[in-house]
């Protein structure tokens, strides 16, 4: 079976784009990815488009915009893992031998679809009693503080770090550094989380061009990065209440990816993880096995997760700093991994980066730990 390689990536600036829409942003990202790959667009055989709230056939609107309609295309929705799922579907189409060149696109014009707190689907019993995504993570944060003695300041440091990383990312939603005090004094959303503990409402899109071994050989693209694993799982149904301070779903998805890639967590040089909230980054890196349980807050305090630290987490600025256009997020993580692994990350370049991991986790449905979790491993 062929392995899969990323030969080109593109992404729009993340932020508020009042004069644009999801298709327009997706087209910009796709054109950049095609140009970056150097491939003739006529060689692209299929496409997947991840988005959440953009309505019917958004992917087709993107292809129409760039003159490429006529391909098999599927729109995929997996909440905040939609873009990552598009990458996985593209990789499966190649691994299955159906296609040699596939485009994966993720896009969202979220500012026109949402203000304030994201909620589960209204049909869900938890939505019916007032669940919001910030509240769910706030409850997990409170429990984590109780169990592991994490301080409020330690939690704020996750936002401070990611905003600092975002300040050196020209495509990030936020370009200004913030302090712990500013996080603690920002507007309360769901105690103990304030607005600077939450990822912003962001518009943006990203795209990647994936190819098979034989196509890579034919193209001779020296900048390709290998997609060594792309795993996806939904959460199991609880048969008893389980800890909300650990993520078995993230662990299971990571283990599948590590096994496929033939690596362990100790081989990961840096990671983009789904920091939709400050506490989420803590839960994710521990679930991924990159840090021991209960140990991440102190590690952030020591600078271990900084660019230049022992294991940089979210060098792009993450969802907290770069922004979180739901469908765009998972593809944008892969864009960052590719740019880091090629040594093209500019000011935020991680020296000697060889193995990067991207993690997404999205959605809330009553009684299951998480709706959709993805882990991608990219190797140079």
């Amino acid at each position: 079976m062929t392995t899969v390689h990323v030969i080109g990536v593109g992404m729009t600036r993340f932020g508020k784009h009042p004069d644009r829409d999801a298709a327009d942003l997706g087209a910009e990202a796709l054109l950049e990815a095609i140009a970056d790959s150097g491939i003739d667009p006529r060689a692209i055989e299929g496409a997947y488009c991840g988005h959440v709230f953009q309505g019917m056939v958004t992917g087709q609107r993107i292809l129409a915009q760039v003159g490429m309609a006529g391909l098999p295309l599927s729109n995929v929705e997996n909440a905040c893992s939609s873009g990552a799922t598009a990458i996985r579907e593209a990789s499966l189409a190649i691994r299955a031998g159906e296609h040699d060149v596939v485009a994966a696109i993720g896009t969202e014009h979220l500012t026109t679809r949402f203000t304030g707190a994201l909620t589960p689907d209204p049909s869900d019993p938890e939505a019916a009693v007032g669940a919001t995504m910030p509240a769910v993570y706030a409850m997990r944060a409170r429990r984590y503080m109780e169990e592991f003695g994490m301080t409020r300041e330690q939690l704020a440091l996750v936002a401070v770090k990611n905003r600092r990383h975002a300040a050196s990312n020209p495509l990030a939603h936020f370009r200004k550094e913030i302090t712990v005090e500013e996080v603690l004094e920002s507007r309360p959303i769901a105690d103990p989380l304030n607005v600077f503990d939450c990822s912003p409402v962001t518009d943006g899109a990203a795209a990647a061009i994936l190819v098979s071994d034989r196509m890579l050989k034919r193209l001779g693209n020296g900048r390709a990065v290998r997609l060594a694993a792309s795993s996806l799982f939904t959460g199991s149904v609880d048969t008893e209440p389980t800890s909300m301070t650990f993520e078995p779903l993230t662990r299971k998805t990571a283990e599948a990816a590590y096994e496929r890639a033939g690596i362990g967590p100790e081989d990961v040089g840096f990671a983009e993880v789904h920091d939709c909230f400050t506490i989420a980054e803590v839960l994710r890196v521990e679930g991924l096995g990159l840090f021991g349980q209960g140990e991440y807050p102190a590690a952030v305090e020591r600078g271990e997760a900084d660019i230049g630290g022992r294991l940089p987490i979210n060098p792009s600025g993450g969802l907290l700093g770069k922004g979180h256009p739901l469908g765009g997020t998972g593809v944008a993580q892969v864009v960052e991994l590719v740019r880091q692994l090629r040594g093209e990350a500019g000011e935020r370049q991680i020296e000697g980066a060889r193995v990067g991991l991207a993690h997404c986790r999205g959605g809330k449905a009553v009684g299951i730990e998480g709706a959709a979790c993805t882990v991608q491993v990219l190797v140079r």
């Binding site: 304030g116 938890e126 007032g130 509240a135 409850m139 769901a190 048969t239 209440p241 909300m244």
Partner: protein
């Protein structure tokens, strides 16, 4: 057209998950697997433990303990803020998300004992009052 009192009698906001009994008390509804005993909220079609499909609908206990909580300060227009949202562990082995009422937010503590209360929970599209659930400090254990 006039809506009479009979037709606008309070009804459950989510009849599949929450039942209001004749005596005015409420019960959360779920499933228990007759094969392996695993409990579920809400009602399920099959058991995730053994994948059996022989499940009975059960009424859960009306008391529980608070696993964690948050004071929600930004929400959708349907839910005026602030309100306390928590996860309540019931003796049957299920964890239920619920608002917590009947005490000040500052008095809410992880591990506190709670009981189910029937409270107004919005109105139907026809304007009839709907009944839902919140958990309150267990009588005699809370401050009031």
């Amino acid at each position: 057209m006039t809506v009479t009192d009979q037709t606008s009698a309070p009804i459950s906001f989510r009849p599949r998950e929450f039942e209001v009994l004749a005596d005015g008390t409420g019960r959360l509804l779920g499933s228990r697997c007759r094969g392996c005993g695993a409990p579920f909220f809400p009602v399920r079609a099959a058991c995730s433990g053994c994948l059996g499909t022989d499940l009975e609908t059960i009424r859960f206990s009306t008391t529980g303990t608070l696993y964690t909580f948050s004071v929600v300060r930004q929400s959708t227009p349907a839910f005026p803020v602030p309100y306390v949202l928590g996860y309540v562990d019931l003796p049957e082995g299920v964890r239920i998300m619920s608002q917590i009422s009947g005490c000040e937010p500052d008095d809410v503590k992880i591990g506190m004992d709670l009981e189910l209360a029937v409270e107004e929970f919005g109105t139907s599209p026809e304007g009839a009052p709907l009944l839902g659930y919140r958990f309150r400090p267990l009588a005699g254990r809370g401050d009031r």
